[in-house]
């Protein structure tokens, strides 16, 4: 390959440099019907799973077809999305916060043609390219993080766990039979780039071994005080270590029993890696939400302390998720979110019906807030 210049001159980096211009203005990207009716929408209806109509005060209608997508997307796939939008939607489209693709049209006929077109597109491997769904009282796309595809701190893979889970719950992506919407989120380590801590069901990668110390290099690549300060439980202290060659170097020591494997030290110091095939795996959390509807937003709670990584399809994990969803579908009332259902029946009943083991790991012992989660009443269920 021959180097192709964009026009940038490395000798004079400031020459004609353009900075601080931000994103493109949204006005340029709105479909015409959106631009015309912005702020004047009257109501909407979900016609069937994945198909919405929004009606403006003047009677204008916009039909939206929502499709799932792997958030990891190739340029070729995006070019195909563009072909579809050019053919059916005047060259406009959008993505949702939960990585769905939305194609919009201004008539029902166009929407039907679009729907038929999308439904027949498949990858060579056999999976749908553009499954239609993800609306209403069902399961929409899983927001997730990078995992082994592109991150240095994951305790599991993100794309793989998501693919395995979405395959298992796919019928609920294309249906609206649940008591309320159910949001699944995935983060591949405690850093939670995906902020899964308020999800109906959260899949979280977690380490279980303290950092390994690369003493020979630690002081050369890390600031020891930063590594020490990074630890939330004060488990790390500066130390001197004698290497095999007799040389004494500055390094750190870790009080293993204090470590909660958060990896904050590794973020500050690359000589303290945590990942380990046996130590790493999955935590499942449940019962969180972000909406203020009926009850206040709430955090998800840990319901499975650890499951090993089972590549490539994590069957124990998907089985546990599926079981929780089925029990929720059976037991919850219309409009009741997962966490409202567990609050009503009590967590003791939840572990019962979902056939999950309750172990000492699930009792909070981290900081003052832990106390708030212990039962402080004589009311409980046998």
């Amino acid at each position: 390959m021959a180097f192709i210049s964009s026009g940038y001159n490395p000798e004079k980096p400031m020459e004609g440099r353009i900075t601080d211009i931000g994103p493109k203005h949204y006005d340029q990207f709105y479909p015409e019907i959106i631009k015309k009716n912005k702020g004047k929408w009257s109501h909407h209806e979900i016609l069937e799973p994945g198909i919405l109509v929004h009606v403006a005060e003047n009677g204008d209608e916009v039909f939206t077809v929502r499709c799932g997508g792997a958030r990891l997307m190739s340029a070729s796939h995006i070019q195909e999305i563009c072909d579809i939008a050019d053919k059916h939607c005047d060259g406009k489209l959008r993505f949702t916060t939960r990585n769905n693709i939305e194609f919009m049209t201004d008539s029902k006929d166009k929407m039907l043609a679009l729907k038929a077109d999308l439904a027949q597109r498949k990858f060579d491997g056999g999976s749908y390219k553009f499954p239609i769904g993800g609306t209403g009282a069902g399961i929409t796309n899983i927001v997730h993080t990078q995992g082994w595809v592109h991150c240095h701190t994951p305790a599991t893979d993100a794309s793989g766990t998501v693919k395995a889970t979405m395959d298992e719950v796919f019928s609920d992506f294309q249906d609206m039979r649940l008591p309320a919407k159910l949001r699944i989120s995935m983060a591949c380590c405690l850093n939670m780039c995906g902020a899964v801590h308020c999800s109906d069901i959260a899949i979280l990668g977690y380490h279980r071994k303290p950092p390994i110390l690369d003493h020979e290099y630690l002081d050369k690549v890390c600031e020891v005080p930063l590594a020490v300060a990074a630890c939330p439980t004060a488990a790390i202290k500066p130390s001197k270590v004698e290497l095999a060659n007799g040389e004494t170097v500055k390094s750190v020591a870790v009080k293993n029993e204090r470590c909660m494997y958060c990896g904050n030290c590794y973020t500050m110091c690359p000589s303290m890696p945590l990942s380990d095939a046996e130590g790493d795996g999955i935590v499942l959390m449940a019962g969180g939400k972000v909406s203020n509807r009926i009850s206040a937003p709430k955090f998800s709670k840990v319901v499975v302390a650890f499951l090993p990584n089972e590549m490539p399809r994590w069957p124990t994990m998907t089985h546990a998720i599926k079981k929780m969803i089925e029990e929720y579908a059976k037991g919850a009332r219309k409009y009741e979110r997962f966490g409202d259902w567990t609050d009503r029946i009590g967590w003791e009943r939840f572990f019962d019906v979902c056939e999950l083991d309750f172990t000492h790991h699930l009792i909070d012992d981290f900081r003052d807030a832990a106390y708030q989660s212990w039962r402080q009443t004589s009311q409980f269920k046998f």
Binding site: I4, T19, K24, I34, A75, I78, L93, T96, D124, D157
Partner: protein, 458 residues
């Protein structure tokens, strides 16, 4: 013919959900065949080697990406995340595989023209793999080499009028819900304020000067579709303070089953006939609704605007007309001291509904920005007093929420000039350990022990 055998990953090609493995293979194939005759500026086998490296992780259960590596474009401290593999010999095409965050447009609307231009650039100068989108909201371009960074930035800024997003200890790329562009629940123009603040704070976004990351997110209503309350240091949630609009004729159509409940969200199961009492009145958290003599009434003074009744009957019930935002501060994921939800700091900041001029109504974007500075002056004041406080008092890598816990909610309220009110708390404190200020106690704290002893023997 695939470069590496990937038996484990191949198992992720079956099943109905879109397979990322099939998609990466598709891009690998496009690069191998190169029918467009692209002079690839990073190794053409990048997608193959990524699959090979990922297969290795699936085999041995650990990541093969190394820690960081400081790369970037001149003058910016964010927007690019360096990434190197720990198996450069086995998978040379992804030895260096940096991420570029591209600032996404409002509510993630696109023209195909823009996306095609971006993908042409990315197939030429990167792996051709993306995330649409990253968790914070950016377009994420996944995998290129160091020499390509300035070239990509040059093309983005010169040919596409497009900038990078944030990373590191700076303002992260703000994100918004679909808002008024296609949602009847939106109480303010989320795209407008998101764009305005993104442009206003470009310096804070590109050049890390904060103790740690800082996120704004804009939810048009309390349904919180972008989850601002859980994951932004400053969460904007649209709300109103007058009455919910009621169309009695449409209420009747919900009762007789003509209108589908909750806009049809429950069509997948037979839940029986619509029951206004069970589905709306009895689920209202403040029990402020009544249905008598064929008429629905709401005691708006007691309403806490949870959205349930409006969600169930969107044709009959409308958000109020005196609209604005509630501001909540300090939300974050668990790292390090545990997860935090946003705490209410400004109950209601009215947004002037008559100030609705658009960019097209002005000669230039500068004039429009000045107009918005006036419109959102109250918001800007709150933001800047929070930043002044956090930059002064926050420790290295301390999120705003952690500082709030360390110093107390009242400290932040004081800094933003907000009078503490009962709505700021779920309940008042359960201990009397109040940190009285000296000037609140008559006579102050300087006392004379000799004077005291005149009345109290030793």
């Amino acid at each position: 013919m695939a470069k590496h055998n990937t038996p484990l990953l191949d198992e992720l090609e079956s099943g109905p959900w879109p397979s990322f493995v099939s998609d990466i293979k598709q891009e690998a194939d496009v690069r191998a065949k190169n029918e467009k005759g692209i002079d690839f500026q990073i190794p053409s086998e990048a997608c193959d080697d990524l699959l090979g490296l990922l297969e290795l992780s699936y085999k041995d259960g650990t990541t093969h990406w190394k820690h960081g590596g400081i790369v970037g474009v001149f003058g910016y401290g964010g927007g690019i995340i360096g990434r190197y593999s720990d198996k450069p010999k086995e998978f040379p095409a992804v030895a260096a595989f940096h991420t570029i965050r591209v600032s996404q447009p409002g509510a993630k609307y696109y023209t195909t023209e823009f996306l095609r231009q971006l993908m042409d650039l990315w197939q030429l100068r990167g792996s051709g793999l993306t995330n649409m989108h990253g968790s914070t909201g950016d377009i994420v371009l996944l995998g290129t080499t160091t020499p390509q960074l300035e070239e990509i930035f040059y093309t983005l800024t010169h040919d596409m009028d497009q900038d990078l997003g944030g990373s590191g200890s700076n303002l992260r790329t703000p994100a918004d819900c679909i808002g008024q562009s296609r949602c009847e629940y939106a109480c303010y123009d989320t795209q407008e304020i998101c764009y305005f603040l993104t442009m206003m704070y470009q310096d804070e976004l590109h050049r890390p000067a904060f103790p740690y990351k800082f996120k704004f997110k804009f939810d048009g209503c309390p349904n919180c579709c972008v989850a601002s309350i859980a994951r932004s240091d400053l969460s904007f949630i649209g709300t109103w303070r007058d009455q919910i609009g009621i169309d009695q004729a449409e209420v009747a159509k919900y009762i007789d089953g003509t209108n589908p409940a909750n806009a049809g969200a429950h069509k997948g199961r037979d839940w029986g006939a619509f029951d206004l009492d069970a589905e709306v009145l009895n689920l209202c958290p403040t029990e402020c609704m009544k249905y008598e003599d064929g008429k629905l009434t709401i005691n708006d003074k007691e309403c806490t605007r949870c959205m349930h009744c409006i969600n169930v009957m969107p044709k009959a019930l409308k958000i109020g007309k005196q609209r604005g935002v509630s501001l909540l501060a300090g939300a974050k994921a668990p790292i390090v001291d545990g997860a935090q939800m946003g705490s209410l700091i400004v109950p209601f900041l009215e947004i002037d509904q008559t100030m609705n001029k658009q960019l097209a109504d002005f000669e230039s974007e500068e004039e429009w920005m000045e107009y918005l500075e006036e419109k959102y002056a109250g918001v800007v004041e709150v933001i800047e007093s929070i930043w002044d406080y956090w930059m002064e008092e926050g420790k290295n890598r301390e999120r705003l929420g952690e500082l709030m816990i360390r110093q107390g909610l009242q400290k932040l309220l004081e800094k933003i000039g907000m009078e503490p009110q009962a709505v700021h708390v779920d309940h008042p404190r359960t201990n009397p350990y109040i940190f009285w200020k000296e000037d609140e106690v008559p006579g102050g704290w300087d006392r004379d022990i000799n004077e005291y002893r005149k009345h109290h023997a030793r």
